[in-house]
Symmetry: C2
Subunit: 318 residues, 2 copies
């Protein structure tokens, strides 16, 4: 159902559209962690997260002129909105009204029609189904879609090459994990192209449905507890992503919001990149969970409101 | 005296040591500027600025075991300190006590012996000369040294390739300019490898000795006025760098501190990179000085104290 050939086909489609993001490394962070920490900086991707890859690939598979609909708290929203604009498609994005302001503003900036709903009161699916039927739009799911997973898997193809260039062919890869699209895609790519690198999904403490599902051998759903990691507050892994993770991934890890904030501040000071909370869980695990050997981690996104980032800097200023 | 062969020799020396930094572009910033703005993200370089390139190249030309001395407010300091550590050399860095805290901390973190002096009271040169004589250290100048200029010029070789990949072979290149090491190096590289790209140095208003020197046809020295751009508060271009800039560069531009702060905030939101004030002058010029056609600008460094960065975010939060 999902193999490296599909990811390589996606890589050919996104070439020249998505950016090959750098694998960064800081001498100071290595000293701090006591091992090499290599950071796949997807916050530098077009739209500020890896989501543009999957969105571009999924939309490339649609007939010309077909408009798209997506539900998203923000990163999938921006990826779909920009890909649609570049492909000349209409895009309607249904977003919760409490999504980060920067994500709503950017999605509108890419020309999408943004429809806000109240998480507490409104039925998102009903709103989306109504719009899709009315305007003849194609729904682009955020993770449980083979073309989206294949697009995100291109991150894994790049990691395989870049890690080898950096002298790392064995070790662990920590991925920021919501529904598992990025994690599953990277895991398939690495199993084929860099089998010495083992993927472990990382989630916020209290929202560890993937770690629990892997531990229990079946999909566990829970609503989770409050976390600042808005991008990865997903109640369950997907029907497509879970079996892939089950087959290829090691155990899941969790980190606290406090560790996430500290990782964001360290990325600011020592990598000079802007990482959002949900994009910093893997770096937090790389820095604050012991273990030997090199670790590669995704910095999956960098769309964070200035007010929150300013607070994090204030807490952790050196 | 300085030609592209020297820069290519430097590129061979730094290969695998310095990072090939990405040329970033934001769809949103392009819309805002009304033209393509491509950002050479040297803030992602090892030590957080391009200075590591020149430092590595200069130190590679010294006999084994020779220790080094540098004067610097911070970026050259970090570049020399890390290059010295990696090459097994002693390093003594003389820094003003009011340098950004992050720069002093990182320089110490790379293992250098940091000697602080009071800008108002102490004689920096006397302190340095004393230490150099006492410990037999080699002085590594921050910009007026052929091996340093050649090292910085490797940024230009990368720009030539990356700009062509992005479809840009004609246009302007804005460089953040202090003493002119980066500007001169890039100008020599591009004159040989991408002659359609014309370099213009950018300085803070009130510290525009290079722009004035270019306009008047000879080196103008002035002490300048206060600016937040600590990295490029240089009173005059160098005896080596000025003739190169005179030969290859277009007129200098200046930007205000307010424009620099706004550019830093826009880089945070739309490029997700951390740029320090002195590293943001070229981006500010690209965004806020009119003109047609694509502009490439250096984001030369990202070593900025969290407190200042937090203030900038607060001023410009969307």
């Amino acid at each position: 159902m999902m193999d490296v050939a599909m990811i390589e086909a996606a890589a050919a489609r996104i070439a020249g559209r998505a950016r090959v993001t750098p694998l960064l490394e800081s001498d100071t962070l290595n000293d701090l962690a006591g091992r090499r920490v290599l950071v796949k900086a997807e916050c530098l991707q077009r739209t500020g997260s890896f989501k543009f890859r999957g969105a571009w690939n999924a939309l490339s598979c649609l007939a010309a002129g077909v408009g798209v609909l997506a539900y998203s708290s923000g990163n999938h929203a921006q990826g779909v909105a920009l890909a649609a604009r570049l492909q000349g498609r209409a895009a309607v994005i249904v977003m919760p009204s409490d999504a980060p302001a920067v994500k709503i503003a950017n999605t509108r900036g890419y020309g999408a029609d943004v429809v806000l709903y109240d998480r507490a009161k409104d039925d998102r699916d009903a709103i989306g189904a109504g719009l899709a039927a009315q305007r003849g739009l194609h729904l682009v799911k955020p993770f449980d879609d083979a073309s989206v997973i294949a697009g995100q898997g291109t991150v894994g193809l790049e990691i395989a090459v870049q890690a080898a260039d950096a002298g790392v062919t064995a070790g662990r890869v920590f991925t920021c994990c919501g529904g598992g699209g990025l994690t599953a895609g990277i895991a398939v790519a690495l199993a084929a192209r860099a089998p010495g690198l083992r993927v472990h999904p990382v989630e916020p403490e209290g929202f560890d449905d993937v770690a629990q599902s892997l531990a229990q051998g079946g999909i566990v759903t829970h609503q989770g507890q409050a976390t600042i990691c808005d991008a990865i507050m997903t109640p369950a892994p997907g029907a497509l992503t879970f079996p892939i993770m089950q087959r290829h991934c090691g155990a899941g890890l969790t980190v606290t919001d406090a560790e996430v904030r500290r990782a964001m501040a360290l990325a600011f000071t020592h990598l000079r990149i802007v990482v959002e909370p949900g994009g910093a869980v893997a770096l937090a695990a790389a820095l604050f969970r012991g273990g030997d050997g090199a670790v590669i981690c995704t910095a999956s996104g960098g769309n964070v409101d200035a007010a929150l980032f300013g607070q994090v800097l204030q807490e952790h200023a050196i």
